[in-house]
């Protein structure tokens, strides 16, 4: 197999990582496939200026890696080109920026204004008024300082949990693939499980692979795991202590596997020698014995002939405006991305840790957001993007994906009392005493425990009115 060649381990370094702010790949130049899967966070992902803490960290880390690891030889897949904007678009945007001067408006709003004006040219002379009004509204809608945004986010995601279904399996998008949905999936995301209970990938294809069903099928065959028993029958000959592999020509052709390939794989098995015999393969044992025969028989049954570990099943579907897309049950991002013809810019998996490993923490953060948001909206629950973003940022703030709970975020809190009040009380107290920790009472839980006002909301303001002065003024 071509892809199996000793290819150097891929690091994130050589591949141009999509810019952090871009969760949605830009539409390609070709008109027949204008948009990729609609990513729900589109409106919020546009602003240029804001970057999450995680993004900065990740960027730094990436920079480090670039220096450390010398670029490995690897075929560069060109990034999809951005559609050229009409000049009037850019001009208008510059006009808006001129009005703004050093004041800030998110790019989504600027683009919105530009679009309106292009639609209705009569509005152009009023550009200044529109921008000023937008700015006024934007400032008015800003969040208040000292707002307990974390608490609100936690409540906003937790409260609808009671309204979600528990049904684990559901058919989402692709009717043939089972995906965990509803509350169990949400819990899975928040827990940052190392593997999702139903791993799944959306594998997008590039260029001609996308339009040609044969090429798509070829990729699918490369991806889907094929075991020996899928394409052949094994017969045991107890008299001669041999095994005969009788391939099924029809399925072989379907999966485009040749007899030689099978022979190659079988002869790689330890303590066995294989030989071609007409249309079958005869397997003899180096060290004959009935027990060994049985064992070999078992291991041959599960022998991988082709495909990628972990990918149990693939389904090819033709999507409108896109062409052929492969959906897979089971996930292995690392190896799938290595396959020629797979579009690495759009291919996704629901395995967040795999994304963090292969594409970096920034991408993992975006995936947490996307997965959580789609899980919630699939249940018909409307939760603001910002709440989910906050959760994702907390989970990814230190550069790794941490779980919400005692093994992750909560367990790493600096406050002893807060940890003790959450879970495993006694151990936290004992450990704190041994380490001589001190609790500086910054957080909410600690201050509630000692009976002080918390450092959030109105409690964060230390404004004292002098009673006397007030009186004098009154007089």
């Amino acid at each position: 197999m071509a892809t199996k060649k000793p290819e150097p381990k891929k690091k994130t370094a050589p591949k141009p990582k999509p810019a952090p702010k871009k969760a949605v790949p830009p539409p390609k130049a070709k008109p027949e496939q204008p948009k990729t899967k609609k990513t729900p966070e589109k409106p919020a992902s546009k602003p240029v200026k804001p970057k999450s803490a995680a993004s900065v960290k990740a960027a730094k880390e990436l920079a480090k890696k670039k220096i450390e690891a010398p670029p490995v030889e690897r075929k560069m897949i060109p990034r999809p080109e951005k559609e050229k904007e009409p000049a009037e678009y850019t001009d208008l945007r510059d006009d808006v920026k001129k009005i703004l001067k050093d004041r800030f408006l998110p790019i989504s709003i600027i683009d919105g204004i530009v679009e309106w004006i292009l639609k209705d040219k009569k509005l152009h002379p009023k550009l200044k008024i529109i921008v000023e009004k937008a700015l006024e509204d934007f400032t008015h809608n800003q969040i208040d300082p000292t707002e307990a945004c974390g608490m609100v986010a936690a409540q906003s995601i937790g409260e609808p949990g009671t309204q979600m279904t528990m049904r684990t399996f559901h058919y989402a998008g692709v009717a043939e693939i089972n995906v965990t949905l509803g509350l169990p999936r949400l819990i899975e995301i928040v827990d940052a499980r190392s593997t999702p209970s139903t791993p799944m990938m959306n594998i997008y294809l590039r260029d001609e692979y996308r339009v040609n069903p044969d090429l798509a099928k070829e990729i699918a065959n490369k991806i889907e795991i094929t075991r020996l028993t899928d394409v052949a029958d094994i017969e045991m000959d107890l008299v001669n202590i041999t095994l005969t592999i009788k391939p099924n020509a029809k399925t072989m052709e379907k999966k485009s596997i040749t007899l030689e390939e099978i022979l190659d794989k079988v002869s790689n098995v330890k303590k066995v020698s294989a030989a071609k015999e007409k249309e079958t393969i005869k397997v003899t044992l180096d060290d004959p014995g009935y027990k060994a025969l049985q064992n070999i028989n078992e291991s041959l049954k599960n022998l991988k002939i082709k495909g990628i570990d972990g990918i149990k099943r693939v389904i090819i579907r033709k999507e409108p405006n896109e062409g052929y897309v492969i959906y897979s049950e089971g996930s292995n991002l690392k190896e799938v991305l290595d396959i020629d013809g797979v579009d690495p810019y759009r291919t996704t998996t629901n395995d967040i840790h795999a994304i963090a490993r292969e594409l970096g923490i920034e991408a993992a953060r975006n995936m947490i957001i996307q997965e959580a948001f789609s899980t919630l909206s699939e249940q018909g629950l409307n939760v603001d993007m910002r709440h989910i973003m906050l959760v994702a940022d907390v989970m990814s703030a230190d550069g790794t994906v941490r779980a919400i709970g005692r093994h992750g975020v909560s367990g790493e809190k600096s406050s002893v009392l807060s940890r003790a009040a959450f879970e495993i009380t006694v151990n936290h107290l004992l450990l704190a005493s041994q380490r001589g920790e001190s609790d500086t009472l910054n957080g909410v839980a600690e201050n509630i425990i000692v009976g002080q006002p918390v450092n959030l909301g109105t409690g964060a303001i230390e404004l004292v009115m002098s009673h006397k002065k007030q009186k004098q003024k009154g007089k």
Partner: protein
């Protein structure tokens, strides 16, 4: 109560450390040697567990150490101590002890690292601490390296293999280490090496983790209870301490008498067991100590741990005064801001009023009012207590009917009166589970007779309350600051827009929506009389809407009276039929709402206009005119809705689901067709002619196909049914307007209930190869697998009923499992995110200072102010600009 008189100090930090034996002895009020509590006269035994130097619990008695009483001036309690005859291991620290033993040399006590390496590690640890990084990996590596060594790199003493036998015993190379030996070993570890094994020298020494002295908590920590019979019942801790002392004594006696080694060791182990269970009675590997009744004792760790433990039950949440709880009931005549409080509760709960020159007269009057007692027709607030301060000491005078007038005359400026609730007071109202901040909102009190809390029906969604016996809590605020904050931030009207998605969660429900639907559907008109009734329902004081030539007024003009003059919106109503060719502005069904300059031009007002979660009009009013206008609108529109419903007449009953025989025949026909289709599918499957779907087995394919057919059959039945149920059917009006129920509910009632499913599949379990004995084995047909062809109205046959119950049971189990799972998820989320706040610079930080986001939500927009997630309403700005010319 902090009322400014006594400014409280703020706690800066809490430090944790291990108590050393010498410190323990120093702070001890007495040594405890007698394993008994009271003597025969019921007097505490000196140097016993109830020694009066360890504070006292009986009111009136004075502590022998500090001389304070239990009541007002409160003796804080004093620790005693037990001198253990032989040292024992502290269970909580076994892991640390094990690590210390593994990482150090038995002879020289140094960490098993070469000098240079130790220095290097110390430096990294210091650096990590400075950088706020975790050192766990260093400690782990030191220990794992040490266990691999054969000899100490410093003194060349051979390194033994340390094993920990379940809870508390250690072995070195298979030979048992006694606590005494361990203690001697640990004492050798020099201070500078301790930081390499995760022990802070300033806080602890490893040998302190082998107990030689056991602190005895003050009596106040373990009060004994006197039962009715006069018997004393001791606290679990006291029981356990008795055991410890008793064994300790025996051990001492035996050892001093030179008893055989074996006996001493047995007793030593027994002492270890008692001390272990005293500290943690759930240590794995040893049986928990039990009470005489067989109940496991609640010892120190159990007191702190878990949901009922000190931390979660007494420290993070507390019981409060000035609160009430009773059943709730609806009252459509109250504003959404109001709460109806029963007189009984109002008389009990009080609010402090500071007597000032300005309100002295009023206070006097209200105090003297107390004299009238209960026998008055109308409720007037009385005063329960008058508080005065003499040299900083509070004196509380109970005001009764008898002394009311007298107390009123003595009232002076500076006093505080505790006044009963009266209309207009602000109070917090709450329903559990409090899943979001709208579960606790501030209401204005209105005192009413009867015994339940009442509130406007519109307040149900945020509390998730209904009136099937729900109870709710009321809290009365006790300081001016709290009242101001509640008024500004927590009042119901401030919470109409939910921070979850920026939409309304308080709006019209049920009848309000039906009413508004009827008011605006099909250009309904009202005569003058009706119009004035409707307008008076919300106490309208303006001009009558213009009547037409026949003196009739359009319903839409009546509702327009409530709209602010500058409101202009267009949107689709809930009643939209989702026609294929939408004629948007000229919808023939009236499902396109146009409001222009505060006048409803066309369209039906339904759930999408005034409903909770959806109400567009409410949202717009609040954004443009503030929360007060929004509250007034909700109050009025709900009253109007109810009024319409009463005038027009609106009722639903079982005959709303009646369908003509013609329809019944059609439904039967389509069901029969479905039946045939299923049979042919089954036939095809049995003849192996069925094409399997990609990646599915034949069985799965068959099931999926059948599920599709049954699903369609139910929809078909529904379609037929709804075709015959017109818009003059009340049930249909409710479904279409979004007031209550759905078309699916209706079609299940009149058409066909449909396929019952368990775990998303047709019902397949029960008997061998069949679901019920009524069917043939291996029957794959519709009715054998849970298809209910009947409607709720026609009635289910026995097998259908059974399948329906199976589906229903799954729903119930689901709900039960879900609530606990989502509750835990929310607890974890809250715990992880509670410390985040938006700083003045717009960043989101942990209260520790760590930055989580540079701009909140990437644009700094408050979700509750956002327009459906978008930062601003650009369409509207454009519209306004266009209007301006």
């Amino acid at each position: 109560m902090a009322d400014g008189r006594n400014i409280t100090k703020k706690i800066g930090a809490l430090e944790f450390a291990v108590l050393s034996p010498s410190e323990l002895r120093k702070m001890s009020a007495t040594k405890v040697i007698t394993a008994d509590t009271y003597d025969d006269d019921g007097f505490p035994i000196t140097m016993g567990l109830m020694d009066q130097r360890l504070s006292v619990i009986e009111p009136g008695l004075r502590c022998k150490t500090c001389g304070l009483k239990v009541g007002k001036d409160k003796c804080p309690g004093h620790f005693g101590h037990i001198d253990l005859a032989m040292p024992v291991v502290h269970v909580g620290f076994v892991k640390t002890i094990r690590n210390s033993l593994r990482a150090t040399c038995r002879r020289c006590g140094r960490v098993l690292l070469p000098e240079k390496e130790a220095k290097r590690q110390r430096e990294t640890i210091l650096k990590n601490v400075a950088d706020g990084r975790d050192n766990g990996y260093i400690f782990k590596s030191i220990i794992s390296q040490a266990t691999k060594l054969d000899a100490c790199p410093r003194c060349a003493n051979p390194v033994g293999k340390i094993d920990l036998d379940k809870p508390t015993s250690f072995r070195e190379n298979g030979k048992k280490l006694t606590p005494t030996e361990i203690r001697e070993w640990l004492e050798k570890i020099p201070d500078e090496d301790l930081e390499l094994i995760d022990i802070n020298v300033k806080a602890a020494r490893p040998e302190w983790m082998i107990l030689t002295v056991l602190p005895v908590p003050p009596v106040t920590v373990r009060p004994s209870v006197t039962l009715e019979s006069g018997e004393r019942s001791e606290d679990d801790l006291t029981h356990k301490l008795v055991d410890v002392i008793r064994i300790n004594q025996r051990l001492q006696e035996n050892r001093d008498a030179g008893a055989p080694q074996l006996i001493v060791e047995d007793l030593w182990e027994l002492l270890q067991y008692h001390v272990t269970t005293y500290l943690d009675n759930q240590t794995s590997g040893i049986p928990p100590a039990r009470h005489r009744s067989g109940r496991p004792l609640k010892t120190l760790a159990q007191r702190l741990k878990g949901k009922e433990g000190r931390f979660r039950s007494n420290l993070s949440g507390k019981r409060v005064n000035f609160s009430a709880r009773t059943v709730i009931s609806p009252d459509p005549n109250l504003s959404i801001n109001d709460i109806g409080v029963p007189i009984e509760i109002a008389r009990e709960l009080t609010m402090p009023v500071h007597v000032t020159p300005a309100n002295l007269e009023w206070c006097k009057q209200i105090v003297s009012q107390t004299a009238e007692g209960e026998k008055v027709p109308v409720y007037r607030p009385h005063v329960n207590y008058v508080k005065r301060y003499r040299e900083g000491i509070e004196q509380r005078i109970k005001v009764s009917e008898k002394n009311a007038v007298e107390t009123a005359e003595k009232l002076e400026v500076g006093y505080v009166i505790e006044r009963q609730l009266m209309d207009g007071d602000i109070a917090l109202f709450n329903r559990q589970p409090s899943l979001h901040r709208m579960s606790m909102m501030a209401h204005r009190v209105r005192v009413f007779p009867n015994r339940s809390f009442r509130f406007n029906l519109s307040d149900c969604p945020p509390y998730n309350a209904d009136f099937d016996g729900d109870e709710m809590n009321l809290h009365i605020l006790q300081s001016e600051e709290a009242k101001a904050e509640a008024e500004i931030l927590m009042k119901v009207q401030e919470n109409i827009l939910s921070p979850r998605f920026g939409g309304v969660i308080i709006g019209g429900l049920h009848d309000h929506i039906s009413g508004c639907f009827l008011l605006t559907y099909k250009d309904r008109k009202f005569n003058k009389e009706e119009t004035s009734t409707l307008l008076s329902s919300f106490k309208y004081k303006g001009k009558m809407p213009e009547p037409d030539d026949n003196g009739m007024v359009f319903g839409r003009d009546i509702i327009s009276v409530l709209l602010p003059k500058d409101i202009t919106v267009e949107y689709k109503a809930k009643a939209c039929f989702h026609c294929e060719a939408c004629e948007a502005p000229n919808c023939p069904n009236g499902a396109y709402v146009i409001i222009k300059n505060g006048r409803l031009k066309q369209g039906i007002i339904d759930e999408n206009s005034i409903g909770s979660f959806k109400g567009r009009i409410i949202e717009r009013i609040i954004r443009d005119h503030g929360t007060t206008a929004g509250r007034e609108f909700i109050d009025s529109v709900t009253r109007l809705g109810i009024s319409v419903v009463t005038i027009v007449g609106f009722t639903t009953s079982i005959d709303d689901e009646d369908i003509p025989p013609e329809a019944k025949r059609q439904i039967e026909e389509s069901l029969l067709k479905a039946q045939k289709k299923i049979n042919s599918l089954v036939q095809a499957y049995e003849n192996k002619e069925l094409e399997s779907l990609p990646g599915r087995s034949l069985e799965e394919t068959l099931e999926m196909e059948i599920m599709r057919v049954t699903g369609r059959a139910r929809d078909m039945a529904g379609e037929v049914a709804s075709k015959y149920l017109g818009m003059n059917n009340s049930a249909v009006i409710m479904a279409k307007s979004g007031a209550r129920g759905s078309m699916l509910n209706l079609s299940q009632m009149s058409g066909c209930v449909g396929q019952q499913a368990v775990r998303g599949e047709r019902i397949s379990r029960g008997y061998k190869y069949r679901t019920l004995p009524h069917f043939k084995k291996g029957d794959l047909g519709a009715s054998a697998k849970g298809f209910v062809a009947n409607s709720y109205k026609s009635g289910l046959n026995p097998t259908e009923y059974f399948f329906h119950s199976m589906g229903g049971r799954e729903g119930l189990v689901d709900t039960a499992v879900r609530t606990s799972r989502s509750g835990y998820m929310q607890r974890r989320l809250v715990n992880a995110l509670e410390d985040l706040k938006v700083e003045s610079d717009g960043t989101v930080r942990h209260t520790g200072g760590e930055i989580i986001q540079f701009i909140y939500g990437e644009d700094g927009i408050d979700p509750s102010r956002s327009i459906n997630g978008k930062p601003i309403d650009l369409d509207r700005i454009i519209y306004e600009v266009k209007q301006e010319g």
